[in-house]
Structures are given as C-alpha cells and as structure tokens.
Amino acid sequence: MTKLRDKTISRAEFRKTAEQLTNILAQEAMQHLQTESTNLETPLAQTTGLKLANPVVLVPILRSGITMVHSFLHYFQNATIGVVGLKRDEQTAQAHWYYENFPPLSDKHQIIILDPMLATGGTALETLKKLQQHGIPQKKILFVAMVCAPEGLQAVQKEFPDVKIITAAVDEKLNKDKFIIPGLGDFGDRYFGTE
C-alpha cells in the first residue's frame, strides 16, 4: 500500500505493486469461500483434501477492475468471468449500464466482485442490485477492493449486510470530489497512464 500511495513511483512499478497486492487479496478471498472435502489418492495412499464447494464467477468492474482479473485467474483457474461497466449520475442516482456480459448465473455460484477502489459505493450498490436480480444470495458475494472509504463501506453494509468486503486499507474519508483521502489517486489513470 505504501508504494501504491506514493505519487513518485513509476507506472511500471505501480503495476507490479498492484499485482502483488492483488495476489494477497486473492489468497485472502480464498479463506472466505465455502469448501468441501474430497477423496483422492496420492501415489501411496488414499487421503482426503479440500475443494471449492461452488463454482466461482469473477465480476470485474470496468475499467480498473480488469487489472485484477489475471492474478485472480491464477488462484481460480476455472472461474467464469462476468464483465460489467457502468456510470452513475450522482445527481439523479441513475445508473447507466454500458456493458454487461454475465456467464450463466444461479444461486449455486460464488461471486467475487473486483474493483480496486470503493469510494462512495454507488457503483458497488448498482452491481450488487444487479446480482440480486440474477438470484444471487448476498452470502455468496465477496467484494474485493484495494482501498475503501468509510462512506462506501457503510453504504454497502447498510443495504447488503451479508456481503463480505475484502480490502487492504480503510482510509479516512472522501474529499468533495469524491476521491478517497489519503487514497492513491485515480487507480485507473495511474495504472493505464491516462492521467
């Protein structure tokens, strides 16, 4: 987090650090998934092991969320991926979905939403509502962010109390432009070089 927050690090360094942090978050996410025991044979004997109880669906939110997909795929190799993109008009609170492409979904699926920054929670709430419409129970949803603002955490917690949020940092507040303070700037702009 220290390196990601530092405004002097290069783009290449920012990407490398983001990837390292994503790996940690993916491992943490794994701790919160339901598993079941499975029987297998080693070359020498029968034993039992663990496997994930439910098929995983990664849901990256465009644009920043896609930076986390590749690392998560190392840990969840058979996950399907639902890409979503939306803008929220803060005044009318209307969400405009410009992209939505989900794999088949059922209440059996374990969803992992990927979005590096949870700021106001507006986008998060819209995505959660959409998943609810697809019949996904809250208990089957993990929200993974690198940095969160308390405002966003509260918003999600209030409307979706059973959704787990996994994050590397809970920051102080949002400023008047809705940026996380101290935060790390605009994640997408720094990662993609569109500042």
Binding site: A12, Q77, A79, T80, G85, Y98, Y99, P103, T194
Partner: protein, 232 residues
C-alpha cells in the same frame, strides 16, 4: 476468386519483403509452437483454464513479433567487462485493447511493454443500420509519435477494426505506426483494412478460410471472448 487472389498476393509480399508488408504472420515464432497454440485454441474440447493458458502463450508470441516492427534506437551500455551496443524503445507505446476480447491479451503485452500507456475502446455495431455505438472510449493523450498496438483476438468482417482506425486517425495518430494484433483473421477483414488503411500492419498467427453467413470465422475458434470468459 478476387478474395483468393488478393490474399495470395499478400502472402507473396510477406515472403519477399517482410518489413514493409502489411500482413505479418508470426513467422519468428517456432512454427510448431504456433501450430500448437492454435490447435489448442481451435479445439472445441479445450477446457476453460487450458484455453486461457494458451491465450497467454500466443499473446507472448504475438508481442515478440510486434517488437520486430517497432523502431528502436541504438544505445551503448556496459556489461561487467566491456561497453557494448544495445537498443531501447524510441517512441512511446500505447496498447489499445478492444473490449471485451482484447482485454485477454493485455496482461501479457504489459510484460513486454512495461511503460506502455493503455487506452480502451468498446463499440457495438448494429448490423442492420451499420451504425456504430461507442459505449466506451478512453485514449491517453496522443502526440503522433506513439506506436499504437491494437489488441483484438479476432479480425472477422473488419467493421470494428475500421471504426477504431478511423477514430485513431481523427485523434492524431500516425497511421504508419499502428499495428493491429489478432489471433485469427478472415480474409475479408484483412482486405478491408488493406483497402482503407494500407499502412497499418496486421500481425496474426492464422489467416482462415472465410466468414460464414453469421460472420463467424471458419474454421476459426468459435467466439474468442465467450470461450476465454466462459460466457458461452
């Protein structure tokens, strides 16, 4: 017949003047390797995780091939024993994945172009009205000096490709510095780019036979995005 002739001509050029030619099959990759990647990607029985592994491998081969078409400048460095000539990138590189499939090639290309800026484009085309709807467009500032590498695993009709290329032209890109990277191409798409933007280089591992009536590449590999993301 016209199609067959044009493609034959392109291949002929490829053999004689690789550097100035528009269509470049990734020849510098070991032939067997290339064949192996595409065999796996084309096979409809390939699993989701295997498909993704092969995508990473083929993206590496394509990324290495793009490096042959980017100008580098000579520099001198020192080994532990002596000075020696080396090269470094001369112009900045912009990677431009087309949403959604193009995203799958991005992580590998970023390993080769660590300082590249990344733009994104997403557009849907109404096949009846032929009107394009841009639902996403975010480009870094372009000075005209950049090499722009467009990432789009499948070049089918070329409709999307042309719209992206027009947009880049209007945004001040140098059309001599654009490389279009795809995994498989249909002859129809290649011809279309060839006709309107002859200076754009196309790098691919497979030029397939034709498009079917649903505009899918045949034999192709199905819908690349659906197979990679598991949305079939």
């Amino acid at each position: 017949m016209k199609t067959a002739k044009a493609i034959a001509a392109v291949f002929l050029c490829t053999q004689t003047a690789l550097a100035t030619d528009q269509l470049i099959e990734s020849q510098n990759t070991l032939r067997n390797g290339k064949e192996w990647f595409t065999t796996g990607l084309r096979n409809k029985n390939t699993s989701l995780s295997k498909y993704r592994e092969l995508t990473d491998l083929v993206a590496s081969a394509l990324a290495l091939e793009t490096m042959n078409h980017i100008q580098f400048k000579n520099i001198t460095i020192e080994t532990q024993l002596a000075p020696i000539a080396g090269i470094e990138e001369e112009s900045p590189v912009v990677l431009l994945p087309v949403i959604r499939s193009g995203l799958s090639l991005l992580p590998t290309f970023l390993k080769y172009y660590q300082n590249a800026k990344v733009g994104f484009v997403g557009l849907a085309r109404d096949e009846e009205t032929a009107q394009a709807h841009w639902y996403y467009k975010k480009l870094p500032a372009l000075s005209g000096k950049e090499y722009i590498i467009i990432l789009e695993p499948m070049l089918a009709t070329g409709g999307t490709a042309l719209l992206v290329l027009e947009e880049l032209k209007n945004s001040g890109a140098d059309m001599n510095k654009i490389i279009f990277v795809s995994v498989v191409c249909a002859p129809e798409g290649i011809e279309k780019i060839n006709a309107e933007f002859p200076s754009v280089k196309i790098i691919t591992v497979g030029v397939d036979s034709h498009l079917n009536d649903k505009k899918f590449i045949v034999p192709g590999l199905g819908d690349f995005g659906d197979r990679y993301f598991g949305t079939e």
